[in-house]
């Protein structure tokens, strides 16, 4: 991901964008973690 | 930064921001530059206290790597001439070296004082015994109980305990002039008459600049050098080159075939940038590469540097192809500090050659005594500020090798039209077995002292792993039998490990010339014919071709795209179905049957070849 951003926007922009991207993902995780678990049955435990 | 005096190395270090930088990385211990500097300064005060003077010659002989480096560096700073004496050297030769070098003192392991019969009560000479610190068990407990280090009278006067008794002095040291001797390494000559190579501070510093330039070193370099420290490639291209660049010397272990895996792992683990080694080690790595092919693919690694003996072209290409890395090939002698000609990566040189001279001049002199034209063979001569100042107390030998400032290397070379040099042979009678020079005369001399032997000769024969190996041809006295093992047992106390013949051949007589001298070339022919009768175990070309053809058919890859280096990972079509076709095709063509475990083990063309050759032998 970072490499793609780096090549597209240069180092400075890539640094900012990657942080935003990670924060966005974190937000998604926190926001949606209370939802029911649709786990694939054969994860084997 | 141009350093022309050794004192400048230490001055820059004193004011360096890299003091906490690691100088030596050992397996579980680091030595920082701060500690090195502190130890060096303490040693210098100790030398002052003991009235040592610049120019004094002192024997250095210890198995501890850090101590070897430390004393060498401290001696350089103080102006003492280090006389390297390999702790492994047998006592006969050690005695001869000590006598020849007229030393002013000894710094050796305690055990060596006894085994070499050095009288440490002789007040005229300086003595310092190195007493390796024993593994201190219960260190934590000691600390908890606040026990002081127990110093027995035995260890009190030995190194490193003596470091606690001195403080680093700030008394200025004498500035060492460039013409001053830096060290002496004994290389060639017979056991009775060893030859000591004298290197000055100027030689050394000039060459450290050259090496730095050729390898592109700086303070970020992490040099993996596990070569023996009592050879120039170990001590110069290890600790000294590291110190000169304020880089890091990585030496977690010494080389041994059984720890080849650790060697692969070390590249990544210790973030190695430059790996200085000999072709034999490269050849072993090539052999045991399985699943370690990615070892050199780290962010840090820059290049492999091959020193000390000829790097075979095939090994060179294979190694670079397998590990996807590059090799710098270095040509040099102990007499030229370390290198002279370099086949560098940047700028690129022609592979298979020794490249170009850096910071020195080279010429090729033909048999007729004139300079050779391009592609004409002749002896390689070298000239530069790094060329040694002659052998210790040996005018005759010096005259034979140094003429009007030119060093006659004794190696036969050619220069191509682009100016690249290539070594094609040698005039001196030496054997280079895995980077170590062995002088067959020394060995013959010792073998002939055996009362059961009538006459003998030692020579080198080609060897796939070591380049060359030492063998001896022997004629025993009439009606006397001598076992190979008996002879080896006889030689052990007399010779170094590298000088023990790897094979012994017995003959009725040895071919002699008109002068009565044994003819080396004729003996060589006899040995090779005797060996041929014993074994031929390599698969010939046609077998390799059948393997490749079967692979091509089974995996659907053009045959010219397949090499013996290919594995199930590198060949696109090598899946479970292709595997079956490949195996059955080989079984049909060779009329054999692979077992389950063999079928499961085959995962590359090399393993296929190995298993196949084993099977064919059994049939």
């Amino acid at each position: 991901m970072y490499h793609w951003l780096f090549n597209k926007f240069g180092e400075k922009m890539a640094n900012i964008l990657i942080v935003i991207w990670y924060l966005f993902l974190l937000a998604l995780i926190v926001l949606f973690s209370p939802h029911p678990d649709g786990r694939f049955k054969y994860l084997a435990w | 930064m141009h350093i022309s005096n050794i004192s400048e190395v230490f001055e820059t270090l004193e004011h360096s921001k890299f003091q906490n930088h690691t100088f030596l990385q050992e397996k579980s211990k680091n030595i920082s530059y701060k500690q090195l500097l502190n130890d060096v300064n303490k040693l210098c005060s100790y030398f002052q206290k003991n009235d040592l003077k610049p120019g004094d010659k002192i024997i250095l002989s210890t198995t501890n790597d850090y101590y070897t480096a430390l004393f060498f560096i401290a001696f350089l700073k103080y102006g003492i001439v280090t006389v390297f004496l390999d702790p492994e050297v047998q006592s006969e030769r050690a005695k001869a070296i000590i006598k020849k070098s007229e030393v002013n003192g000894f710094v050796m392991d305690v055990a060596l004082f006894t085994s070499r019969h050095i009288d440490s009560d002789n007040a005229a000479l300086f003595h310092l015994k190195i007493h390796e610190e024993r593994q201190k068990k219960g260190k934590l407990l000691n600390r908890l109980l606040k026990q002081k280090k127990t110093i027995t009278p035995e260890t009190k006067s030995t190194f490193p305990s003596i470091l606690d008794t001195v403080t680093a002095s700030h008394k200025p040291l004498i500035k060492i002039p460039p013409s001053h001797l830096a060290y002496i390494i004994f290389t060639s000559g017979t056991t009775a008459a060893p030859k000591g190579v004298r290197i000055t501070h100027e030689n050394l510093l000039t060459h450290l600049h050259t090496l730095t330039k050729a390898y592109h070193l700086d303070h970020e370099a992490r040099i993996l050098n596990i070569l023996m420290l009592y050879h120039a490639d170990g001590c110069i291209q290890g600790p000294l080159l590291t110190l000169f660049n304020q880089a890091t010397w990585v030496r977690p272990f010494t080389f041994d075939v059984s720890n080849i895996e650790s060697l692969f792992n070390a590249i990544y683990k210790y973030r190695v940038t430059h790996f200085i080694t000999v072709p034999t080690v490269l050849s072993f790595m090539e052999k045991f590469k399985d699943s370690y092919e990615d070892s050199f693919q780290t962010e840090d690694f820059k290049c492999v540097i091959s020193v000390a003996s000829k790097l075979e072209e095939k090994l060179w290409y294979d190694f670079e192809a397998i590990f996807k890395t590059q090799i710098i090939n270095v040509y040099g002698l102990t007499e030229t500090v370390a290198g002279s000609l370099f086949c560098t990566i940047n700028p690129p040189c022609k592979k298979g050659t020794i490249g170009l001279p850096i910071d020195c001049k080279a010429k090729i002199i033909t048999e007729n005594g004139v300079e050779a034209k391009a592609n004409e063979e002749g002896v390689l001569w070298l000239k530069g500020n790094h060329i040694f100042k002659g052998y210790l107390n040996d005018e005759e030998a010096t005259k034979a090798i140094l003429q009007e400032g030119w060093l006659i290397t004794g190696d036969i070379a050619v220069r191509d039209t682009k100016g690249f040099y290539k070594i094609v042979g040698r005039t001196k009678n030496t054997i280079n077995a895995g980077g170590i020079n062995v002088y067959p005369e020394q060995v013959t001399e010792m073998i002939n002292t055996n009362p059961k032997i009538l006459e003998s000769i030692c020579l080198g024969i080609p060897d796939t792993n070591f380049g060359e190996k030492l063998v001896s041809a022997i004629v025993t006295k009439p009606n006397i039998t001598l076992e190979k093992t008996e002879l080896i047992a006889f030689l052990r106390p007399l010779l170094e490990q590298s000088q023990i013949p790897k094979d012994v051949f017995f003959f009725e007589t040895l071919p002699k010339g008109l002068s009565g001298k044994i003819q080396t070339n004729e003996v060589l022919k006899l040995i090779i014919s005797q060996r041929k009768n014993i074994k031929t175990d390599t698969l010939n070309e046609t077998h390799q071709h059948i393997i490749k053809a079967s692979a091509s058919e089974a995996f659907g890859v053009a045959i010219d795209k397949i090499t013996m280096m290919d594995t199930s990972k590198s060949l696109e079509g090598w899946d479970s179905m292709g595997h079956l076709i490949f195996i059955t095709s080989l079984e049909q063509q060779f009329g054999i049957q692979f077992s389950t475990s063999e079928m499961m083990t085959i995962n590359s063309l090399k393993t296929t070849e190995a298993i196949l050759s084993q099977k064919l032998k059994d049939v």
Binding site: P36, L43, A44, W45 | S291, S576, T596, M599
Partner: protein, 377 residues
């Protein structure tokens, strides 16, 4: 989600200690934390893993015949595996529920791998402690991958702090968690499934089709998400564990699919089922069949998984027959169509085959097939 957070929580102290302690002691906290985790979550599993680990290592090391030792280990692991898979554990009151001891599917296969590699004499020099480290490695204990011993030891021996690896690991965990919570749990399980059940019966075919797409997508996203977390955690510890998924929905044929889906298991079956059977029988079709059945039964021991395996084995054999056919060669001239068609057929075959195992009974699966093939009107 719950167990995953606990897993990550347990890893944190082990992680810190493993990078701060002197080199010799670095792996002790990892093993200890794994033991505590298992003790807390499944003491039975801890007992099984602990005992089998000790027995297997020593049997392989000290038994004079390697073949016999390998057989002992393999049979022992198979016995334990089947004992729990076949629900005998409940019958004999060893376990209260029919849920397997935590991680058993993975560590039993790892130990069989180790035994067979010992038989092949392909194991590097190592100690008992190395074997313990390999088996008691928390990140991959629960959800695989069934990583290999050789690569583990190699990584272990050259382990050092590496910024790049560590940040790669953090990123991987983030991606894995996003896949599980957002894509899997929210988008598919909640949104898509609600949407599917809201579709009126007039569009039965459409809703049935969407249902199987959703089942496949969820399986992939959840499983690969869990694998991402496992691989990411391993990276934090300095280990590059093998990948388990490689964009399986882009597979151009069924053989290719099995090189991209649950790679560690299909590789395991290839190395330890397919090749041995191949060398004994010299029959590729049969060997593929046996491998696929093993692969199926790994999930669950039942008729439907055998059916599912048969279907895949058949498909792989058909593919190998077809691969060099005239039609396929013709298609070479239109590579884009060939690729597109390949992907389309493969993914649909896989999704349809999942119907057999996604429904509760075989009858229900049959109904789904009827709907899809428009046979029930």
């Amino acid at each position: 989600m719950n167990i995953l957070l606990i897993l990550i929580g347990f890893c944190i102290p082990a992680l810190i200690l493993s990078w701060r302690l002197p080199e010799k002691l670095q792996f002790i906290p990892v093993v200890l934390v794994t033991i505590i985790f298992l003790f807390y979550k499944s003491p039975l599993s801890l007992l099984l893993l602990g005992l089998s680990c000790i027995i297997n290592y020593h049997v392989l090391k000290y038994m004079p015949s390697v073949t016999a030792a390998t057989l002992v280990v393999v049979l022992q692991m198979c016995f334990i595996f089947l004992f729990f898979k076949l629900d005998y554990a409940v019958c004999f009151n060893v376990s209260q529920s029919s849920i397997l001891p935590l991680g058993l599917s993975y560590y039993s296969f790892r130990q069989i791998h180790y035994a067979i590699e010992a038989y092949k004499k392909q194991l590097p020099k190592h100690t008992f402690l190395d074997y313990v480290n390999y088996l008691f490695f928390l990140p991959t204990l629960l959800v695989g991958p069934i990583n290999r011993f050789q690569t583990f030891i190699k990584d272990y021996n050259r382990r050092r702090w590496d910024n790049r690896l560590f940040s790669m690991g953090l990123e991987r965990i983030l991606y894995g968690l996003t896949k599980i919570t957002f894509l899997g749990n929210y988008i598919i399980t909640r949104k898509l499934n609600t949407f599917i059940s809201s579709i009126s019966d007039d569009y039965l075919w459409g809703s049935t089709y969407l249902k199987i797409v959703s089942f496949f997508a969820n399986s992939y996203i959840q499983f690969s998400g869990y694998s991402d977390v496992a691989i990411g955690l391993s990276l934090l510890f300095g280990f590059k564990v093998m990948e388990n998924f490689n964009y399986p929905f882009l597979a151009t044929n069924i053989a290719d699919f099995w090189k991209r889906w649950h790679i560690s298991l299909s590789d395991w079956c290839k190395d330890y089922i397919f090749f041995p059977f191949l060398s004994i029988t010299r029959n590729a079709k049969l060997s593929i069949l046996i491998s696929m059945i093993t692969l199926g039964l790994w999930h669950e021991i039942s008729i439907r998984y055998i059916l599912w395996a048969l279907l895949h084995a058949l498909a792989i054999n058909i593919w190998y027959k077809y691969e060099n056919s005239f039609l396929q060669k013709k298609l070479d001239h239109i590579p884009l169509l060939k690729k597109g068609l390949g992907i389309f057929i493969t993914i649909h075959f896989v999704m349809f085959s999942f119907v057999i195992v996604s429904e509760n009974t075989l009858n229900e699966s049959l109904e789904v097939f009827k709907t899809l093939l428009v046979l029930n009107i």
